[in-house]
Amino acid sequence: MSARRAPEAVQVVKERRDRALATLVGTVPYITYMGFKFDRRGDELTAIMPYRDDLVGNPALPALHGGAISAFLEATALIVLGWSLVWPRIETGDALPEGIALPKTIDLTVDFLRSGLPRDAYARARVTRSGRRYASVQVEAWQDNRDRPIAQATGHFLMPRQDD
C-alpha cells in the first residue's frame, strides 16, 4: 500500500470539474441554442434559463411557452443524470472524451404549476433511481421564489451503453 496522496489544490479540482461540465453541456446544440446555463456547487447543479423574448408562449400575459419550460426541465434532467454518470471519472482525474454519450429520454411528464413570468427560471433535478439500463429523474423549476415552483416533471431515461 502506498502512502495517502496529498489532496489536490482546490483550483485544480474546480477547473477539472468545470471543464467536464462544459464538455457535457456543450455536446447538445439545442441546449446552446436555448441558452441554458449550468451553475455548479460541488457536485450539485442548478440550471438557468435566462429570459429571452423568443421563449414567450403567451404575449398577452406575457408568459413563458410551456414547451420552453418542458425543454428546460428535460435538459436539466438529462444533464444532471449525465453528470452523475461522469462524476466518478472526473474525481479520479480523467478527462472526459469529446462527444460523450448522454442518456436518451423515454418519457417525460410535466406538471405546469404556475405561469412562467418573463424573467429567468432555475431548475434542479434529483436522480431518484439510476440503474444499468434505466433511470428515473425528478426535476423542478422555479423563478423568484424557490418555494413557488412553476413546473415539476418526472422522466425516465435509457442509459448509454457502457462501451460507448
Partner: protein, 143 residues
C-alpha cells in the same frame, strides 16, 4: 359568420404570434373542430445528439404543446384562452435527421374547465410516430 377559411387564417395568425413557436419555425397546416396539425422544419440549432444529428426531445415537446393548445382553442366549446396543466410525452423512436416533424393533436373531450388532448408526432418516414403525448389543459372562460 366567419367561414372555416377565416377561422384557419385567424388561427394561423394566432400561432404565428407565439414568439417561441415562431422561433422554432412552426407552421400551421390544418385546424378546426378540436384538431390541429402543425409542422416544424428540421433545423441544426435543434439537434440534441450531434453524433446522430437527431432533433432534441425538448423541441418536439414544444411542438406537441403548441399543437395541443391549438387543438383546444379550435374546439367548438373552447373558452377565450387555454394553458397547459400537464403534458406527458413518450419518445417512441428517434426522429430521422433532416426530416420535418409534424404534430397532429385532437382535443377529444372538454368540460367546463378542462380539455383533454392526445397528440402524435411523425416525420413522414414511417408509420410509427416519433412521439405521442397526452395532456390536460385549463379552459379559461372568465368569471
Amino acid at each position: 359568420m366567419p367561414t372555416n377559411r377565416d377561422r384557419t387564417e385567424i388561427a394561423r395568425q394566432f400561432i404565428n404570434a407565439i414568439p417561441h413557436s415562431r422561433a422554432l419555425g412552426m407552421s400551421l397546416n390544418e385546424i378546426g373542430q378540436g384538431e390541429a396539425i402543425i409542422a416544424m422544419p428540421y433545423d441544426e440549432r435543434l439537434i440534441g445528439d450531434p453524433k446522430t444529428r437527431v432533433i432534441a426531445g425538448g423541441a418536439v415537446s414544444a411542438l406537441m404543446d403548441t399543437c395541443a393548445g391549438a387543438a383546444v382553442m379550435s374546439h367548438e366549446d373552447a373558452g377565450f384562452a387555454t394553458a397547459t396543466l400537464d403534458l406527458r410525452i413518450d419518445y417512441m423512436r428517434t426522429a430521422t435527421p433532416g426530416a420535418a416533424i409534424t404534430a397532429h393533436a385532437i382535443c377529444y373531450h372538454m368540460t367546463r374547465s378542462v380539455a383533454f388532448v392526445r397528440a402524435t408526432a411523425t416525420d413522414g418516414t414511417s408509420d410509427t410516430p416519433v412521439a405521442t403525448a397526452t395532456g390536460a389543459f385549463a379552459v379559461e372562460r372568465g368569471a
